[in-house]
């Protein structure tokens, strides 16, 4: 294909693509994101392809492997356009029925649509499913509409029109003004105003300037950037070119984390296609503007998400942060002015140019505009990616979109902002989601991780878990982070294992202060957040662990014991047989007793005990009642009363 030489030619080409497509042709979109592929989407795609061929429908039905629409909990997800019928947890065996019923007879396969677990109400269309209904999907909505590997698909939904508009109808200053009006803040963590970063790099002295996409998404459980890179790589490329044009850069880098092979692949394909079409490279669309993109694969370090560490790594040096100032905008990659933004930030640029900054800013709170993608995970019914307007309450995300807590348990806290975010308790669920709002509550926006915890989660153990993660991910350059976190981790481990001492909380507070105030980069400065926020909202749990050696959530293994209530035990032998360490003594009609010396607290007996007996108990902070005398252990069957 010849390179497209002008904006008019781009529009002509777009019309040509659209003219070949009939919007009424049924299109089966199957999520081919990493989540659905893991649950068998590849087999589903293959089944659809062969079934359609078999039935001779190839000419009249389209099939697409698309990006992730977000509802990973119920994958593989299949959406059939134009009717937008949404089928969940589809398996290859369902395929013939879908073709027969939906494609041929325009009817719905009822058993595959979303059924509300409470009301039993069925939602046929994707947008009617409660998980989607309460979202505002401005960015991720395109994922399911396009084949992630087809530039024509991206063009068919208006792709690269923002680039064409920026290059031909707007001056650099006008693009910047639009981004300024949108009040878009960086989606990677710190929430720095994007226009200011761009302006800083634009005005910095130097002929060579760089733009970088930070795709080193390292937060455990977070995968919004992956979904965008895999599902709609062109939107990121388009945003990056617009940024480069505004800043005056001719070379861009995408730093993708090692663990995202599919994202790397799709991104590579997209870059090649854009080059072939004249949307990248020399003289883009005949505008005279040159820009090229190189992809760099990270080597698996969390700290490389920090911008100065990322730049070091890009240069081939160890990924260690550098002190700021000087900021990368002035002295970045190879000491040249460099602008780094996160994947989601770049993906927000094309719609801002197309629809205007004011449109973007019409959503949100005072300080946080537009939408934000969160990865909703943990003890929540609907796991997945959710895109919501800034200003939505946490409660709406957890209950309306997330469908509440799994298994009817009680909500305890939601952890936002990744490992160095904080835990927000139930009485703050009305909190509006926004950069400043979350920071005020002792947490942060971060890049958009959201981990929901239920009543069985021990907050001290959660704090230990995240500090452990951060200790292992510290680059080791500065003392407050490397040594401070190491000591915090030791103390927290001691507390959760029953070796907590008076003064531990104060010691942790001193270490937290030192890390916050004296660390070199944001990793160390924010690392104590999991401790600080859990102490702020759940101090009584710390005290129970330290003073009473009691874990209120009955979760810390070293602080709990399993005990069989002799009043309830029916001597059914089930737990006895399940116990992997032969710690349960008993026989038929002989009440079971756990030998505390042998018990390893694995919890198998609790799981095994039939709900109708409910005899196995977890206890913490108090001694296990002594075993009942041998002579009372025989169960005498009660004579049937009349």
């Amino acid at each position: 294909m010849a390179r497209i030489q002008s904006p008019e030619k781009l529009e002509e080409f777009r019309q040509e693509i659209l003219s070949k497509r009939d919007p009424n042709t049924p299109c089966i979109s199957i999520c081919a994101g990493a989540g659905c592929l893991a649950t068998g989407a590849r087999e589903v795609i293959d089944a659809f392809t062969s079934e359609i061929e078999k039935q001779g429908l190839s000419a009249t039905v389209d099939i697409k492997g698309t990006g992730c629409p977000g509802f990973c909990e119920r994958g593989p997800v299949v959406v059939i356009f134009p009717s937008e019928i949404c089928y969940l947890q589809v398996s290859p065996e369902d395929v013939p029925e879908i073709i027969d019923t939906t494609i041929k007879n325009k009817k719905v396969v009822e058993r595959l649509v979303y059924t509300d677990p409470v009301t039993n109400e069925k939602s046929i269309k994707e947008s009617d499913v409660p998980f989607y209904k309460y979202q505002q999907r401005n960015i991720i909505c395109n994922n399911i509409k396009i084949d992630s590997r087809s530039i024509d698909d991206y063009l068919s939904i208006g792709g690269y029109s923002a680039l064409s508009k920026a290059l031909f109808k707007m001056s650099r200053e006008e693009v910047l003004a639009e981004v300024k009006e949108s009040n878009l803040r960086g989606r990677g963590g710190a929430g720095f105003p994007v226009w200011r970063k761009w302006d800083g790099t634009r005005n910095a002295k130097g002929d060579i300037k760089y733009v970088v996409v930070n795709a080193d998404e390292g937060d455990p459980g977070a995968f919004m950037d992956r979904a965008l890179l895999e599902g709609n790589p062109h939107s990121i490329i388009e945003g990056l070119i617009i940024g480069a044009y505004t800043i005056g850069s001719h070379e861009g880098y995408v730093y993708v984390r090692q663990e995202y092979p599919l994202a790397m692949e799709n991104l590579g394909i997209a870059i090649k296609q854009a080059e072939e079409y004249g949307l990248l490279g020399k003289d883009i669309l005949g505008s005279g503007f040159d820009f090229e993109i190189k992809v760099h694969r990270g080597a698996g370090a969390f700290v490389c998400g920090e911008e100065t560490a990322l730049l070091m790594s890009l240069e081939g040096l160890p990924g260690e942060p550098k002190p700021r100032p000087p900021y990368p905008a002035v002295k970045g990659l190879w000491n040249k002015p460099t602008n780094i933004n996160n994947v989601e930030t770049w993906a927000n640029i094309p719609p801002i140019i197309n629809k205007g900054g004011a449109d973007f800013a019409s959503l949100g709170t005072e300080g946080s505009k537009g939408t934000k993608i969160f990865s909703l995970v943990g003890k929540i019914t609907n796991t997945g990616l959710v895109e919501v307007p800034m200003g939505i309450t946490l409660s709406d995300i957890v209950y309306k979109i997330g469908g509440g807590i799994l298994g009817g348990k009680k909500f305890k806290a939601v952890q936002t902002g990744g490992p160095s975010g904080g835990c927000i308790p139930e009485d703050q669920l009305d909190l509006k989601v926004g950069f400043d709002e979350l920071t005020k509550a002792g947490s942060m926006m971060g890049s958009g991780g959201m981990i929901v915890m239920d009543e069985d989660t021990c907050m001290v153990d959660i704090s230990r878990y995240f500090i452990d993660f951060l200790t292992n991910e510290s680059c080791g350059k500065c003392v407050p982070c490397r040594e401070g976190l190491r000591q915090m981790h030791k103390i927290l481990t001691n507390i959760t294992e029953g070796r907590g001492k008076e003064g531990d909380i104060e010691l942790l507070e001193a270490l937290a202060e030192t890390a916050v105030e004296a660390s070199l980069c944001a990793l160390g400065k924010s690392a104590p957040n999991p401790f600080k926020s859990t102490l702020r909202y759940f101090r009584e749990e710390y005290e129970a662990h330290i003073k009473e050696k009691r874990c209120p959530a009955l979760s810390c293994k070293e602080l709990i014991s399993y005990y069989i209530d002799p009043e309830k035990c029916r001597a059914c032998l089930i737990c006895l047989k399940k116990c992997p360490s032969d710690a349960i003594d008993g026989a038929k009609k002989k009440i079971h007793i756990i030998d505390q010396e042998k018990c390893t607290n694995c919890g198998e007996c609790l799981e095994a005990c039939p709900a109708k007996f409910d005899a196995v108990k977890k206890i913490s902070g108090k001694p296990v009642p002594p075993p009942i005398p041998e002579e009372q252990r025989t169960i005498v069957k009660k004579s049937k009363e009349k």
Binding site: A301, P318, P323, P325, P326, T471, N472, E473, S474, C475, G476, K477, C478, V479, P480, R482, E483, G484, L485, R486, Q487, K490, L507, A510, L511, E513, T514, E517, A518, S519, L520
Partner: protein, 204 residues
């Protein structure tokens, strides 16, 4: 390069643009404690002991003076209750590795640091990086480097280079604030030097 005017501990100090707060203080004869700093080396900012209080337009925060560039009208306090408290914790954290380091002991006395506040960790290196950076930046031999990351980070001689260069140099030895560097060298020498070069005198 223009000249900046700042205030350190109440004293007016003139400094060239681009130098650090630590350099400005030292040129004015004002003492700020340091561990990983060396005048011949690029600022590193690893030990954080030179942390000071900085004020601009009424906004106060802590900055690390060996890497923070001077600014006009910056007001620096080299000591405050908070600065001292943080330095104390930093010293204590390093003493968990090297409780008998004379340099740390001297600092501990000034800041009332308790060498036993934290659990000991018997690796004596405090990762100031003086040896590594001196070898790279001044001697330009790269005979020693950091390996691994985070809490597992260690200094490590590169046997193939060290066996040729170190016996006649050893310029890094006096820089080490603990006794670990020499121990690491002896260990590397005995374990990993090629046989013929491990003799004390290696004049070739």
């Amino acid at each position: 390069m223009s000249e900046m005017l700042l205030q350190i501990d109440g004293k007016e100090v003139r400094a060239k643009e681009g130098i650090t707060v630590l350099q400005a203080a030292q040129s004015a004869g004002i003492y700020i404690p340091t561990l990983c700093h060396h005048e011949k080396l690029e600022p590193f900012g690893g030990c954080r002991i030179c942390i000071v209080e900085a004020e601009t337009n009424g906004f106060k925060r802590l900055v690390v003076s060996c890497v923070y560039p001077v600014e006009n009208n910056l007001i620096i306090k080299t000591r405050s209750e908070k600065v001292d408290r943080i330095r104390k914790t930093l010293i204590e954290l390093m003493m968990a590795h090297a409780p008998d380091s004379p340099e740390l002991q001297k600092l501990a006395e000034v800041y009332n640091a308790d060498r036993d506040r934290f659990d000991k960790d018997s690796s004596f290196c405090i990762h100031c990086g003086l040896c590594v950076r001196y070898c790279t930046e001044v001697v330009k031999k790269n005979a020693i480097g950091f390996i691994d990351r985070g809490i597992n980070k260690e200094i490590c001689f590169v046997p193939s280079v060290a066996s040729k260069e170190c016996n006649d140099c050893k310029q890094c030895f006096p820089l080490c604030p603990t006794s670990y560097l020499q121990a690491a060298f002896v260990l590397t020498e005995s374990l990993a030097f090629p046989k013929d070069s491990s003799k004390p005198s290696s004049k070739e």
